[in-house]
Symmetry: C2
Subunit: 249 residues, 2 copies
Amino acid sequence: MPAAEKKPDSRDGAWAPPPPGRHVYEYPRPAVTVDCVVLGLDADDLKVLLVQRGVEPFKHTWALPGGFVKDDEDLDEAARRELREETNIEDVYLEQLYTFGTPKRDPRGRVITVAYYALAKLSDYRVKAATDAENVGWYALDQLPPLAFDHAEIITRAVERLRGKVRYAPIGFELLPPRFSLTQLQRLYEIVLERELDKRNFRKKILSLGLVVETDEVETGVRHRAARLYRFDKKKYERLLKQGFEFAI
Amino acid sequence: MPAAEKKPDSRDGAWAPPPPGRHVYEYPRPAVTVDCVVLGLDADDLKVLLVQRGVEPFKHTWALPGGFVKDDEDLDEAARRELREETNIEDVYLEQLYTFGTPKRDPRGRVITVAYYALAKLSDYRVKAATDAENVGWYALDQLPPLAFDHAEIITRAVERLRGKVRYAPIGFELLPPRFSLTQLQRLYEIVLERELDKRNFRKKILSLGLVVETDEVETGVRHRAARLYRFDKKKYERLLKQGFEFAI
DNA sequence: CCAAAAGTGTTCGCGGTACACCCATGC
DNA sequence: GCATGGGTGTACCGCGAACACTTTTGG
């Protein structure tokens, strides 16, 4: 554990523990970082966005995008900034997940991390372009590489949160393009919830909520019958929310 | 904003911002605290446990129990320790709630707080004794005094969490004594969910889950027919959990 | 014309909901 | 004996679950 790194950037953020017996402030000050679990939906499974670390510790190991919180920035802001800086991803659904602070989770010393999770539309050309870099990659949840720090645990918790929340909040749509087929939507739920759903019952249920509305577009580029495309009516959802409506699948 | 306090204790934790232009480490280090929203159920409403601050800022103002996280302690540990130190409360249900880190939330400088919420049995003699101190008090949620920092917001979020969670996790029992009548249990749900429930339907539903079981005890000290007392069968619940069972009211 | 997926209704059973009266006890 | 809450059953309805065939399209 080297006491100092040469030129740490905001992501890798090396620092030295305080010299023993010398205190700058009355109270110990852990370092505080944010880490983002970006989840995206591929054809057949959920994937998570990882970046390869450039410095010690865990040099060359895959890790969640994240880094140190700046002095004057809010935690959400920090998460969005790190996401932009490290993966070029912007404008995604982002929500605070949990704060991890076990004393030994970072070999360099005390680092508390506020974890966030984000839902990205893998189909978005910006996301595709953004994650084209060498040291950025999407990994299926059951094929994760070895991960730095306690990042595997953070990912597990993010997926649990998604699984719990997708059933009573309309966040699944954040994983789909703006126009989607009901089959795509159903597959999303099947993948996230890890169980098969009945096609007719699913459609009946979804359409009965009145929040997923037909468009006049259809699928293209498939070599079978083209599916009708639908969109999520966010305006309507927000109106209903205020009246105490509860989304539920 | 005085640059130093004489002898801050772990709760009030005064500290000074770093002298401008001088950096001890490569990255800014916010102070990190924990705060606990302890909720308890009184006859007719939910109450929250507050302590009166002894020092600036917000001297004499009511606030959540909490304080600085020590160098080598886990966040949960810190929360339990602060609870014990400031209110003498131990052995309660405790769960991390959310981390609040808006840069200006503490007038002294950057303080990030990891908020927890706890559920206490107000009937517990230890809790009663523990909160007997002068500067500790239970307040109904709709009669809160002015609060320090952003603690009002933290309480709001804790109550929302409880409201959301009580329906699909058996945490309501944490607010009741080990033996309780079904009427008590029903009133708990009515208070937390803020709506009336039908007595017969509630009993049918609760008993059908098989997790609330009859004891041979009855209420005492009431001047009408004594109610039968029940208990929550935690063992059975944990067994069912492993089999994918889902608690729901 | 064949492969592939889209799209569509009905039946059944359980669980949620609405609803009112008698009972036990203490004072 | 009266006030106070404890305790109990039934009928209806709506929703979730099970289930299979026809249609459309591209190649």
